[in-house]
Amino acid sequence: MTKTTSILKVAFRAMGRNKMRSLLTALGIIIGVACVVATIGIGEGARVQAESQLQSLGTNFLMIFPGTTTSSGARSGWGSNSKLSEQDVDAIRQEVSSVSYVSASIRSVAQVVYGNQNWSTSIQGGEVDWPAIRSWNVAEGQFFTDADNRAAAKVCVLGRTVATTLFGDEDPVGKMIRIKNIPFRVVGVLEAKGGSMMGQDQDDTVIAPYQTVRKKIMGTTSVGMIMTAVSTPDLVLQAQEEISALLRQRHKINKAAGQEDDFMIRSQTEMLAQAEQQSRTMAVLLWSIAGVSLLVGGIGIMNIMLVSVTERTREIGVRMAIGAKGADIRAQFLVEAVVLAVAGGILGIGLGVGIQQAVAKFAGWPVLVSTSSVSLAFLFSALIGVTFGFYPALKASRLDPIEALRYE
């Protein structure tokens, strides 16, 4: 038997002697570690989901919305009186070099009919750059052309949900459908995209040329919003500044004189930052809970180790009399504290993974059990054992052997 195995054996024996006491002592660590594991798992899952959803929106994506407008002191909400024009779209296309793709966009809700099937869905008007901007390709048939847009041709591309709802197993390409009673020819069907971050079904939509939707369906002159995309993420900020400058100049807005923009630019990075901010707030909350319970757990361990040192004063005296040095006694009690904390940590990891699975099952959140979170929790509990076990161990090692042997 080596000294190490002996120390471990004694540590486990000490823990097993008072099972209930050990369990209660470790409870703080168990809860704290469970919190850490659950936090990291849920947080990672949420982050991965948010990222994949933003990714599905199209990379390097910038949207320009008409902003709030002020007339005679009354401010109206965004989009209420669009100041974005088709000339703005052309100007961005021609003058902003950092932008690779531009599309005017407009949106409405209308009833779509094929045969005896009907379906109420969102009708989006877009231009030829639309698939590139949204990184959303046509699965069957093809997208409409620039000529279709200029001629306001009555053609459309269906989202997967609309295609299945109206056509079932039938191939929709080449078929005629009616949107607001106007006949349209289906030229293509989009790839399935899935739900958006807000939980909407993105495939429940019909895309038609911008000019067609504006003139034939909505009968308006203003642009709903402008969608743009840059080639690499580094260009997003530059594009945002260039577009802002251009639109201010075109709309005669003097920012320096305190005039407000009549447009808003939303970038994907901004939305990503927003989502990250939310999950960070959540993480801070859970980390504080974890931190407090780990602290309380550590204090519990220190408390019980001090009790243990007192209870075993005689044993410490005997060990010293037969040749244990201060360092030997210190190692003994430090190992006992670490064993207690790590045992709590292991139970906590189990509990944390259980919580993750429960959250995944009942809340439908994606959950990632990462090895990094498990090893981090393990490391944490060992660290707590060392930190809070050190003082009791030091106290034990400094006992006077004569006094300790006399202790009753």
């Binding site: 000294k3 024996r13 044993e315 010293m320 360092a327 004569i402």
Partner: protein, 246 residues
């Protein structure tokens, strides 16, 4: 005092004092003690409580340091060693036997006997060598069969035998027994003293602290303490022999 023909003493105390500060008053627990103990001696230290015999034992056992004077143990001046050095000396050269046995609870007899080997810096033994040594010591005290018993499963006399085996395991220069029979009945006391006598006959130096005359009579030499000084140092004339001595 030093006889040039005598062998080098195991213990040599010269003008040893130990002063405790109790508030404002100084207590001279040991007041100029000098004594030589030769290898193979069986020394009994007697005296009423407060005579200084416990302080004597603590210093001889390297648990405490003298205030002044020197203590040479097997040629090493141990009176100025620090805590860690004294721990090493205790492990290597001193085998303690206590009045209340002081075995580790819930720990087998064999593991109790092995304990000093774990703290040993000198002899780095393999697991197998440790086992052989510990079993050998248990055999010497007649408990080879009960190696796996815990203290709770052993009688008082058996527990004290395990304690003697533990004191023997590192082959110490002296066995230091502090009232080893204080918690035992007279028949068991006789058995334990028999073990000390047979170990002494094999050449072990034994220092026995006791306040009972009939226990001191198992030794070969008796010193008596009073008020921190040695007041008598004589050879035991009518030495008792344990009935169970082998």
């Amino acid at each position: 005092m030093a006889d040039p023909t005598a062998p080098e003493p195991v213990i040599r105390l010269q003008d040893l004092t130990r002063v405790y500060q109790m508030g404002d008053t100084e207590v001279r627990a040991l007041d100029g003690v000098s004594i030589d103990v030769s290898p193979g001696e069986f020394l009994a230290v007697m005296g009423p409580s407060g005579s200084g015999k416990s302080t004597f034992m603590n210093i001889v056992g390297c648990l405490d340091r003298p205030t002044s004077g020197t203590y040479v143990l097997e040629g090493i001046d141990v009176s100025t060693l620090d805590r860690n050095e004294r721990a090493e000396i205790r492990n290597d050269k001193i085998g303690f036997v206590f009045q209340s046995f002081n075995l580790l609870a819930r720990t087998s007899a064999l593991e109790n006997v092995e304990l000093p080997l774990l703290y040993s810096r000198k002899h780095r033994l393999t697991d197998a060598e440790q086992l052989v040594k510990a079993r050998g010591c248990l055999g010497k005290v007649g408990l080879a069969e009960r190696w796996d018993h815990t203290p709770a499963q052993l009688s008082g006399g058996q527990q004290q035998r395990v304690a003697v085996a533990r004191a023997l395991v590192n082959d110490p220069a002296i066995m230091l027994a502090d009232e080893p029979t204080g918690n035992l009945d007279s028949k068991t006391s006789d058995e334990i003293m028999g073990i000390f006598q047979s170990l002494n006959e094999e050449g072990k130096t034994v220092v026995l602290i006791t306040h009972e005359h009939d226990i001191a009579e198992y030794a070969r030499r008796v010193v008596a303490f009073r008020d921190g000084r040695i007041v008598a140092d004589e050879v035991v004339s009518n030495r008792r022999s344990a009935k169970g001595a082998r």
